[in-house]
């Protein structure tokens, strides 16, 4: 039978993941070799042992994260980029060099193969930024309706280069630095969701932070605490720090970088930019006299044009974060609560 080029194209473009791709047989083997091994190629992965053999010494950081974002593709990234950047960033925040990652896919039957390929390639591209490698993995396919398209879990390990960074290590007088304008990921996802139809240039900040952190460590800057402001945003990080270190944090609202689009979205829907998620933005605490130097490093080597000192650690109001308004009043910056839902009037 003659198959025209167009028909072939239609057939390939409609290829989807079947239950057999997770069955442990030929189809699964093909998927692993043609897609995963090709994208993530390295000798530890392709040796196909039951477990990856790693050669590590010293203190190791170990982290895991599952990714379920909806929609899977959004302005500035996709679930694959997120799954790599998220785990690599968790290691980076402990001053650990991201080295080895595991990767598990839970795929809903009928998921387009093209989409999976795009996502896997985007994971491979993101891995290049830190030099981390995927050394083991797993693929499960679940019947239609049992998952929302695709879920990814990644775990990662890395050698700790600066051992004292901790949520319990904030000290009175420390400066609080944010690496860029906040809230872009949360805002971009909200805009992409059904029901919130808005046109905007806004892109998620989703990115691998290791290159910047590496520069800060090379510059030998005495960092007390670092955390990427993911779910719960800036508010969650600062509140966790205040409680864990039993100190207070004063933040100057006017110093917090927030782009116009994020501000506008928050106005429209009644959100606080401080509560919105980020995926490539980190908060850092370090002695005040080192803060300007750290910002210079971040701006020079890390494209952190909007990095800013936003506040300081105080012995007053331990366990609480206080936001100072530009007109001289103040209020608590509390943890975000409940689902992020639009306000109604």
């Amino acid at each position: 039978m003659l198959i025209t080029a167009m028909e072939k194209l239609i057939m390939t473009s409609k290829k989807t993941i079947q239950l057999s791709h997770g069955g442990g047989g030929k189809e699964m083997d093909q998927l692993i070799h043609d897609l995963f091994f090709k994208a993530f190629d390295n000798p530890i992965l392709t040796s196909q042992e039951d477990a990856a053999k790693l050669n590590m010494c010293g203190h190791i950081a170990f982290t895991t994260d599952s990714f379920t974002v909806s929609p899977l593709f959004f302005a500035g990234g996709d679930i694959g980029k997120l799954a790599i950047a998220g785990t690599v960033n968790d290691l980076a925040m402990m001053a650990a060099q991201p080295e080895y990652l595991s990767c598990s896919f839970i795929i809903e039957e009928g998921f387009p193969l093209d989409d999976l390929t795009t996502i896997v390639n985007s994971m491979a591209a993101e891995l290049h930024k830190s030099g981390a490698r995927i050394v083991c993995g797993d693929t499960k396919v679940v019947p239609k309706g049992c998952a929302d398209g695709l879920f990814i879990n990644t775990s990662g390990v890395g050698r700790i280069l600066h051992p004292d960074i901790s949520v319990r290590n904030l000290q009175v007088g420390d400066a609080i630095i944010v690496s860029r304008d906040i809230g872009c990921h949360g805002a971009a996802i909200l805009m992409a969701r059904d029901g919130l139809t808005l046109e905007s240039e806004l892109r998620s900040d989703c990115d691998t932070l290791w290159p910047i952190i590496e520069q800060l460590l090379v510059a030998n800057i005495d960092i007390h605490a670092m955390r990427d402001a993911t779910r719960g945003g800036l508010s969650a990080v600062l509140n966790e720090w205040a409680k864990a270190s039993n100190i207070g944090i004063d933040v100057e609202e006017a110093s917090i970088p927030i782009c116009d689009e994020v501000k506008g979205l928050c106005e429209l829907f009644g959100f606080e930019p401080f509560d919105l998620a980020n995926e490539g933005t980190f908060i850092m605490a370090l002695p005040m006299d080192l803060a300007e130097g750290a910002i210079e490093v971040m701006q020079r080597y890390g494209h952190c044009e909007h990095a800013a000192i936003i506040g300081h650690v105080t012995e007053r109001h331990p366990g609480k974060v206080v936001l100072q308004t530009p007109w001289g009043s103040s209020r608590y910056l509390d943890l975000p609560q409940g689902e992020l839902l639009p306000r109604i009037c």
């Binding site: 116009d260 506008g264 308004t325 209020r331």
Partner: protein, 375 residues
């Protein structure tokens, strides 16, 4: 095209806010009267607390936080209505965001959704049309809440549903009215309120005219205000000037959006589909005569409250005895006077109306606090 930053630019200018605070202090120094301003709308409560405006005001200006939060004023038995409707077979319950997390006596809609009910929060009521068209074999019930602001959107949905003959959309109407709530507060002889900040969005629809009777009857200034901190500060200044001059007038600070007559087309649309109920029970305030709307008889075929009357609970459920929301809404108590505030009652486990939504007074006090008083 409207740019997103048009929504706030200029209305949060620090110098303007500081200057307004100075002018308010100068005016307030000219009178010994205690000025007790009720901001009727929860949106203003939110602004006052979020921007720390109380800290900028002189000692003789106080705020009493009014009942204008549509989610907060819903009595538990009506939240139970929503949960009951959502639990019916082949039913999709559609409602506006905040309603999802408010607990009724059987749990919140979020819990019912987690247990398998099809409950969808929406931002635009007209989205209900698509949900109904996509699910022709299901009954889609729009659980309508809100003050005068949101009623025209419900009316527009009903108009579309009728015009397009989409018969699987029903309505459960909980639209409430601002003026009767003001009367309920002022009719209490213990009320200390002697000035009002009028709601912003409600007034865009209804016009500043709806507060004329408040001014005439209770001899209190009413200043309709925008929601930004500069708006609220300017409205406080205007109230203070009236107090110093011994006046009680209707004033409109939010003239960039509000006229005296309001949006007449929206009012006509509402009037076509809705009529005033004899009575509606408000959480915290109790039954208030002619304080809410219901569908006109021509649209009873769309009225879920009638169609499901047999299964909807009717027993009135009061809040916890220790809860002081009724007194807080009348201006007789402050959230911090309440024994359960921040202890048994918090935004995660609200005991009373003022804690349930971000626009409620207790919720705003809990979330933003009055920092200067504590440290």
């Amino acid at each position: 095209m409207i740019s997103l930053n048009d929504f706030y630019q200029g209305f949060r200018d620090p110098q303007t806010i500081r200057h307004l605070a100075q002018l308010i202090a100068q005016q307030a120094a000219k009178t010994t009267e205690q000025i007790n301003i009720m901001e009727v709308c929860g949106g203003h409560t939110h602004t006052i607390m979020k921007y720390g405006l109380l800290q900028l005001l002189p000692d003789n200006i106080h705020f009493i936080h009014g009942p204008g939060c549509p989610v907060c004023v819903m009595p538990k038995e009506r939240i139970d209505h929503a949960a009951t409707l959502a639990s019916q077979a082949d039913t999709i319950l559609v409602t506006l965001g905040d309603m999802i997390r408010v607990p009724g006596s059987m749990g919140s809609l979020a819990q019912f959704r987690a247990n398998g009910c099809d409950i969808r929060p929406i931002y635009d009521p007209l989205d209900t049309l698509k949900i109904a068209q996509d699910n022709p074999d299901k009954t889609v019930i729009f659980f309508a809440i809100g003050f005068e602001t949101s009623t025209p959107m419900t009316a527009a949905l009903l108009a579309q549903a009728e015009a397009l003959k989409i018969d699987n959309i029903l309505f459960h109407i909980n639209h409430v009215l601002v003026p009767p709530a003001i009367d309920a507060v002022m009719s209490d002889s213990r009320s200390k309120v002697n000035a009002f900040i009028g709601p912003a969005h409600v007034s865009v629809i209804s016009g500043a005219q709806i507060y004329q009777s408040t001014v005439d009857q209770y001899k209190t200034p009413v200043v309709v205000s925008g929601f930004e901190p500069v708006d609220v500060m300017e409205s406080i200044l205007r109230i203070t000037r009236q107090k110093v001059a011994g006046k009680a007038e209707l004033d409109n600070q939010y003239s960039r959006s509000v006229s005296y007559e309001g949006n007449i087309a929206a009012q006509q649309l509402v009037d076509k589909y809705f009529m005033v109920r004899d009575s509606f029970r408000w959480r915290g305030l109790g039954p208030i005569a002619k304080s809410a709307l219901t569908l006109r008889p021509e649209y009873h075929h769309r009225d879920a409250e009638r169609i499901y009357a047999k299964v909807l609970p009717t027993t009135e459920i009061d809040d916890h005895k220790a809860c002081m929301c009724g007194d807080i809404l009348r201006g007789l108590a402050n959230p911090k006077d309440c024994k359960v505030f921040g202890r048994g009652c918090s935004p995660q486990t609200p005991l009373g109306s003022c804690m349930v939504s971000s626009e409620g007074a207790c919720n705003a006090y809990y979330r933003y606090g009055e920092v200067n008083h504590d440290i």
